[in-house]
Amino acid sequence: MRDAILPNEKIRRVSKVNVSAILFLSIPLLLYFVFYLLPALTSVVLSFTKWDGLTAPVFVGFQNFSKIFRDPRFLNSVLVNIKVVVISLFTQLPLALLLAYLLVKQLKGTAFFRAVLFIPQMLSLVAVGVLWSLIYHPTNGPLAKIFEEMGMESINWLGSTSISLLSLMVTTTWVYFGFHMVLQIAGMSSIPQELYDSAKLDTDNSLEVFFRVTLPLLRETLLISTVMIISGSFSHLIGLFWVMTRGGPMQSTELISIYIYKSAFSAHQFGYSSAMTVIMVAFIAAIVGVVVWQFSKVRIEF
C-alpha cells in the first residue's frame, strides 16, 4: 500500500497542507503541551537537581546520571524489564494473533467471545491483583492444592526469586492479550475481502494465506501492538507488579518504573527518580525507533 503522496500532487498540496496541519494540530498540541509536555520538561529539569519535595531543589549537574549507571539496583531493574519485554512479545503477540484469527473465522458466538475475552482489560488492578495473589497463594491457593493432590512439593509462586517474575508474566499476559487481540481483529477487518478471494485462487492452505496475505497486511496494527507491548512493559506494568509483589521478592520483579516510584515516593529523591525516567524514556525511544524502522522496511506487494 502506498502511503506516499503522488509526485504531481506534492506541488499542489504543499502550501495548502501547512495551514490545515496547523488547524488540525493546534488544539491537541496545546493541551498536550500544557498538561503533559510541560510536566515532562519539568521532570527533565528536575533530573539535574537533588530535591526532596520539602526543601528547595539543589542543582547537581550530571551527578544523578553518573550515579545511576553505577547503581546495581538500577542495572538489575533494567535486566528485569528486558526480560519482561522479551517474554511479553513472545507470549502476547502470538496469543493475540491466534485468538484474533480464530475469532475472525469463527461463525458462532463471535460477539460473545469478543466481549468475554476482553474482560481482563476491563478489570481494575485491585481485582486482578487480589485474585491472582489468591490463586498464587503458596499453601491455600488452587495451584498449591493441585500440586498437593499430585504429591508434588508446593511452589512459592510469588515468593520465590526464580519463579516470581514468570508468575507475574502469566498474569500480565492474561490481562493484556485481549487488548492486542481486539487490535488485530480491527486490523484484520480492514483487509479487503478481494485479497482473500484472489489468494484462494492460488492456494487452499489457510496457513499459507495467513502468513502471506493476512500478516503482512497487519503491518500497522502489529506495529502498534509491538510498540505498545514494549512501551507498556516500561510504563504500564508498574500498576500490576506493584499490587502483586511490590517489586519483590528481593527485587526479582523490580521494574525500572517500580524503582523510579520507590525512589520518588519512598526515598523522596525526586531528582534521582527524574533522571532515571529520562534514561528510561531514552531507552524506550531507542528500542521503538529500531522497531519502527524495521517495520517500515517491510514491502507490501500485490
Partner: protein, 288 residues
C-alpha cells in the same frame, strides 16, 4: 460468500473437527477470563468473615447485603457520576483531538512532522506517576486545582499520545486512491477528513475509545493527587477506601469492583460491535 463447492465427506468432518477444536479453545479461554467476574460476585455474596476464611470458595449463605449497602450509599453514587462525567468528556475529547492530530500526521506533509510525531509517541511513555508533582504545580498555577477540568485535561493529555499514534496508524492504512477520489470530487482537507477518511477508520476509533475509556475509568493516582475533596472523588478513589491496612470490607469491595466493571463492558460492547467488522465483509477500493 463461498463459491459453491462439493466437499467430500472426509473434508466435511475434518472441517467440523477443526471448528470444534476452535470453539473449545475459545471456550476455554472464555472461562479463564470470565472467572474473575464470577469470583467477585461470590465475594460480594459472602460476609466479610466468611471471605477471610474462604477467599476463593462459594458463599454458604449468600446475601445481597453488600449490593444493597453499596447502592444506597450516596457517596458511591456521587463518585460514579463524577467518574462517568469525567470519563465521557475525556474520551470524546481524546477521540476528536486524537483523530485530528493523527490524521494530519498520517497524511499531511509539513515541516516538523517528525518532531511532533516523536513528541506524541515518546513522551507518553513516561509513567504518569513521575509527572504528578509538576502536573500539580501546573494545575495550581492555572488556578484549576480541585476542578473537574484539571482532571479531564490531565487525562486527555495522558491518552492523547497513544490515541494519536493509533489513529495515525489506522489513517495510514487507507489507500491513497480514496483520498484522491475525494479530492477529485472537490473536497477540501477538512471535508475529506470528516466524510471520507474518518468513516474508514471506524475500527481505530473503536480501539481508541475503548482503550482511553478503560484507562481513565480505572485511573487512581492522578485522581488522588488532583482531587481536593470527597465530593469530587472518582469511583476508583471511593473504592480504594474499602481496602486498607486497618481492615478491608471484602464483600463491599467485590460488589463495587463488579459494578465498576459494568460501564466498561457496555462501552466495549457498544464500540466493538458497531465499529469493528469482525467477519470478512466486502470493503473494496473506492467504496463510499
Amino acid at each position: 460468500m463461498e463459491t459453491a463447492e462439493i466437499q467430500s465427506r472426509s473434508e466435511i468432518s475434518k472441517d467440523n473437527l477443526a471448528r470444534w477444536v476452535q470453539f473449545s479453545f475459545l471456550l476455554l479461554f472464555s472461562l479463564i477470563t470470565t472467572y474473575p467476574l464470577f469470583w467477585m460476585f461470590t465475594v460480594a455474596l459472602k460476609t466479610n468473615a466468611e471471605q477471610v476464611r474462604n477467599p476463593l470458595g462459594l458463599p454458604r449463605h449468600p446475601t445481597l447485603e453488600s449490593f444493597t449497602q453499596l447502592l444506597q450509599d450516596q457517596s458511591i453514587i456521587q463518585y460514579t457520576f463524577n467518574s462517568a462525567f469525567i470519563t465521557l468528556v475525556s474520551v470524546v475529547l481524546v477521540l476528536i483531538l486524537g483523530s485530528l492530530a493523527g490524521y494530519s500526521l498520517a497524511r499531511m506533509e509539513f515541516k516538523g512532522r517528525g518532531i511532533i510525531l516523536f513528541l506524541f509517541l515518546t513522551v507518553q511513555w513516561i509513567p504518569l506517576v513521575v509527572l504528578v508533582i509538576p502536573l500539580l504545580v501546573t494545575v495550581q498555577y492555572l488556578g484549576l486545582y480541585g476542578t473537574r477540568i484539571s482532571l479531564i485535561f490531565a487525562y486527555v493529555s495522558a491518552n492523547l499520545g497513544l490515541a494519536v499514534f493509533l489513529m495515525r496508524g489506522f489513517f495510514r492504512s487507507i489507500p491513497q486512491e480514496l483520498l484522491d477520489a475525494a479530492v477529485l470530487d472537490g473536497c477540501d482537507d477538512f471535508k475529506a477528513f470528516l466524510y471520507v477518511m474518518l468513516p474508514q477508520v471506524r475500527a481505530g476509533i473503536a480501539v481508541v475509545a475503548i482503550v482511553s475509556f478503560i484507562s481513565i475509568w480505572n485511573e487512581y493516582f492522578i485522581a488522588l493527587v488532583l482531587v481536593a475533596d470527597k465530593a469530587q472523588y472518582t469511583l476508583p478513589l471511593g473504592i480504594s477506601a474499602f481496602h486498607g491496612m486497618y481492615g478491608t470490607d471484602w464483600p463491599k469491595l467485590g460488589a463495587a469492583l463488579l459494578l465498576a466493571t459494568l460501564p466498561t463492558l457496555v462501552t466495549y460492547i457498544f464500540f466493538a460491535e458497531n465499529f469493528i467488522r469482525s467477519t470478512s465483509r466486502s470493503v473494496g477500493f473506492g467504496g463510499r
